[in-house]
C-alpha cells in the first residue's frame, strides 16, 4: 500500500461570483510524477495556490501526509513537506544565489536564534552542515560557480532552476512546479525536463506535481495527469488515456493533443 502524500476533498475557491476552483478532489501517492493540465483560465494556478497553502480555500479539506492543513499558514504547509515554484519567478532578487537556497533551508536547518547568539558549537556545526548541503544542491543545479552573485543578475533559465533548487532545499515530500519551462526555448526546456526527471529519480519518496503548457513535456514526464476545466476536474488518467479522451479533446476545443 503506497502512502498518500496529499488528499484534497471538495476544495473550492470562489472569488466573489467567480468559481476559480469548484470542488476539486484528489489523492496524490508518494513518489509519483504527476501532471496538471487544462485550458487557459481553468484554475490550475489557483489550485496550486490552494494545495501549497498560498491561498486559503473557501471550503473543502486538504490533508498533507495525513494531517488536515486547510486554513493553515504557508509556513505550516512548508513545515509539513510542501514546497513550490511560481509561474512568475519569485526569487529574493537582492539576495545572492547561495542565500536564496539557504533561505529554503530555513526550517530544516533548525538553528534557533538563541543558540546562535549563545554561539553553541552545535550551532556552528549545524550551519557548516547546511552550507555544505546548500553547496551540493547548487552543484547539482549547475549554479555553484555563480553562488555569490545576486539572483537578479541570473539569466532567465538560471532563475527558473534556482527557484527549483530553493524549493528542494526544504527537502519537501511534495514539490509543486508551476510551469517550470515557461518562457524557455526548446533546448532549455529539454534540459529542464531532464533535470526534473533526475531530481525525481534521485529522491524516491518525492512527489512532483507540475503544471505545464507544453503537452509534449507533460506527456513525456508524467505518470498520471489531472485535467482541469472551469475549476473542475474533468479527467484523471495516464498520458495515454488523456490522449485518447474525448472529454479532454473537447475541453481544449480542438487543441492539438497529439505531440
Amino acid at each position: 500500500m503506497t502512502k498518500i502524500v496529499l488528499a484534497a476533498r471538495e476544495v473550492r475557491k470562489h472569488y466573489g461570483g467567480v468559481r476559480a476552483v469548484d470542488g476539486f478532489s484528489c489523492e496524490l501517492q508518494e513518489g509519483r510524477l504527476i501532471g496538471l493540465i487544462g485550458p487557459n483560465g481553468a484554475g490550475k494556478s489557483t489550485l496550486f495556490n490552494l494545495l501549497s497553502g498560498a491561498v486559503k480555500p473557501t471550503s473543502g479539506s486538504i490533508e498533507l501526509a495525513g494531517e488536515p492543513v486547510a486554513g493553515m499558514r504557508p509556513d505550516q504547509f512548508s513545515r509539513r513537506g510542501a514546497a513550490r515554484t511560481f509561474q512568475n519567478i519569485r526569487l529574493f532578487k537582492r539576495l545572492t544565489i547561495l542565500e536564496n537556497v539557504l533561505a529554503g533551508f530555513h526550517q530544516s536547518s533548525d538553528l534557533s536564534l538563541l543558540r546562535g547568539v549563545l554561539g553553541l558549537s552545535s550551532y556552528q556545526r549545524g550551519s557548516a552542515d547546511v552550507l555544505e548541503r546548500a553547496g551540493a544542491l547548487l552543484e547539482a543545479f549547475g549554479l555553484y560557480a555563480k553562488r555569490n552573485e545576486l539572483a537578479v543578475h541570473l539569466s532567465y533559465g538560471d532563475q527558473r532552476r534556482l527557484e527549483i533548487a530553493r524549493a528542494m532545499a526544504s527537502q519537501p515530500r511534495l514539490l509543486f512546479l508551476d510551469e517550470p519551462a515557461a518562457g524557455m526555448n526548446a533546448y532549455e526546456g529539454q534540459q529542464l525536463v531532464e533535470l526534473i526527471r533526475r531530481l525525481w529519480e534521485e529522491n524516491t519518496q518525492l512527489t512532483v506535481f507540475l503544471i505545464e503548457h507544453d503537452m509534449d513535456v507533460v506527456m513525456k514526464l508524467s505518470q498520471e495527469i489531472f485535467v482541469l476545466d472551469s475549476g473542475r476536474l474533468i479527467f484523471h488518467g495516464t498520458p495515454e488515456e488523456v490522449r485518447g479522451s474525448d472529454v479532454v479533446r473537447e475541453a481544449y476545443l480542438g487543441g492539438d493533443l497529439d505531440a
Binding site: 497553502g53 504557508p74 509556513d75 529574493f92 537582492r94 539576495l95 539557504l102 533561505a103 530553493r166 532545499a169
Partner: protein, 293 residues
C-alpha cells in the same frame, strides 16, 4: 586642529543618528512602513531608563545602562508593533501610518502625564575622562559614543547579513509570501524586526543621554525627524545608506553650529538634505525601485 575636534564631534552625533536611522530603515524595509512613533520609542525609553537607572540604582556602569536601554526599547518597540501596527496588516497602507502617528501622540502624552512637561536633567558616568593629544581635546563621552556606535553597527551588520535569522529578515523584506513558503513565519520576523530596530534606538537613547543629560517629551519628535531625514538622505531601506545619512547629518549639524550659528543647524542640515534629494531622488545610496515581475 579645531577642525579635527569638530569632525569627531560631528561623527559622534552622527553615529547616534545612524543608530536611530538604522532601526527606522530596517522597519521600513520589512513592512514598507514609516514608523512614525520610532522617535517616541526613543524618548519614552529615555524616561524609563532615567527613572530606573539614575534615580533607583545610581552609579551603574555605563555599559549596563546601555544594555538596559536596549532591552527596554526593544520591549517597548515590540509592544508598539502589536498594538499600533499588527491589527492593520491587511489594511490600506495609510492606516498604519495614521496609527503610528496616534501612537506617537500617546507616548508623548503619557510622558507628560508621568514625568511632567519640564526638562529632566541627569548624568550617566561613562567612566572615561577627556582625552587630549596633539593639541586637540576630545571629551571621553564622545569617544564612547563613537566606539559604541561603531561596535553596535558592526554587530547589527553581522546579524543581518551573516546569520540565518538575518537572512530570514531580508527574505521577508523582499517577499513575505514567498518567504513564508520557505517555512519562515513573517509575523515572528516582523516582531523581531521591531525588537531589533527599537533596540538600536534604545542604544541611541543611552548614548544621547550620556552626551546631553536632558530629556523632555518632545525630544522624540525631533530625533524621529532626524532619523527619517538620515534614512531618506542615504536611501530608504538601505542599511549602509542609513549609516552614511546619519553621519552626514551629524557632521553637517556640528559644522553649522560651530562655523555659522547654532540656531541654523537644523535649517541648514535639512536644506542640504533637500538639495541632495533634488540631485539624487532615491538618496545617496538608493537604487531606483524595480517593478515586480
Amino acid at each position: 586642529m579645531l577642525i579635527l575636534e569638530q569632525w569627531i564631534n560631528g561623527l559622534a552625533l552622527g553615529g547616534v543618528y545612524a543608530l536611530i536611522a538604522l532601526g527606522f530603515t530596517l522597519i521600513f524595509g520589512v513592512l514598507k512602513l514609516f514608523h512614525m512613533a520610532h522617535g517616541d520609542v526613543f524618548m519614552f525609553t529615555g524616561y524609563i531608563v532615567v527613572s530606573i537607572v539614575v534615580f533607583a540604582f545610581g552609579g551603574l556602569p555605563f555599559f549596563v545602562v546601555l544594555l538596559i536601554a536596549m532591552a527596554v526599547a526593544s520591549l517597548l518597540g515590540m509592544a508598539v508593533e502589536r498594538v499600533a501596527f499588527r491589527p492593520y496588516r491587511q489594511s490600506d497602507e495609510i492606516i498604519p501610518l495614521i496609527s503610528g502617528i496616534g501612537m506617537s501622540l500617546i507616548l508623548q502624552n503619557l510622558a507628560l502625564l508621568i514625568w511632567g512637561p519640564g526638562q529632566i536633567n541627569y548624568s550617566f558616568n561613562v567612566g572615561i575622562g577627556n582625552v587630549s593629544f596633539g593639541g586637540i581635546q576630545i571629551t571621553g563621552i564622545r569617544l564612547v559614543i563613537l566606539a559604541a556606535s561603531i561596535v553596535i553597527v558592526l554587530i547589527f551588520n553581522y546579524w543581518l547579513y551573516r546569520t540565518r535569522t538575518g537572512r530570514a529578515v531580508r527574505a521577508t523584506a523582499a517577499d513575505p509570501q514567498t518567504a513564508s513558503m520557505m517555512g519562515i513565519r513573517p509575523e515572528l520576523i516582523i516582531l523581531l524586526t521591531f525588537g531589533v530596530g527599537s533596540a538600536l534606538a534604545g542604544a541611541a537613547t543611552a548614548l544621547v543621554g550620556a552626551l546631553y543629560g536632558a530629556i523632555y517629551p518632545a525630544l522624540g519628535f525631533s530625533m524621529g525627524l532626524k532619523a527619517f531625514a538620515a534614512s531618506i538622505l542615504g536611501g530608504l531601506g538601505n542599511m549602509t545608506g542609513a549609516v552614511v545619512g546619519g553621519l552626514l547629518l551629524g557632521v553637517l549639524e556640528v559644522f553649522t553650529a560651530s562655523y555659522i550659528n547654532v540656531a541654523y543647524q537644523d535649517a541648514i542640515a535639512m536644506g542640504i538634505m533637500i538639495l541632495v534629494l533634488l540631485i539624487r531622488p532615491n538618496g545617496l545610496l538608493g537604487k531606483a525601485v524595480e517593478d515586480k515581475l
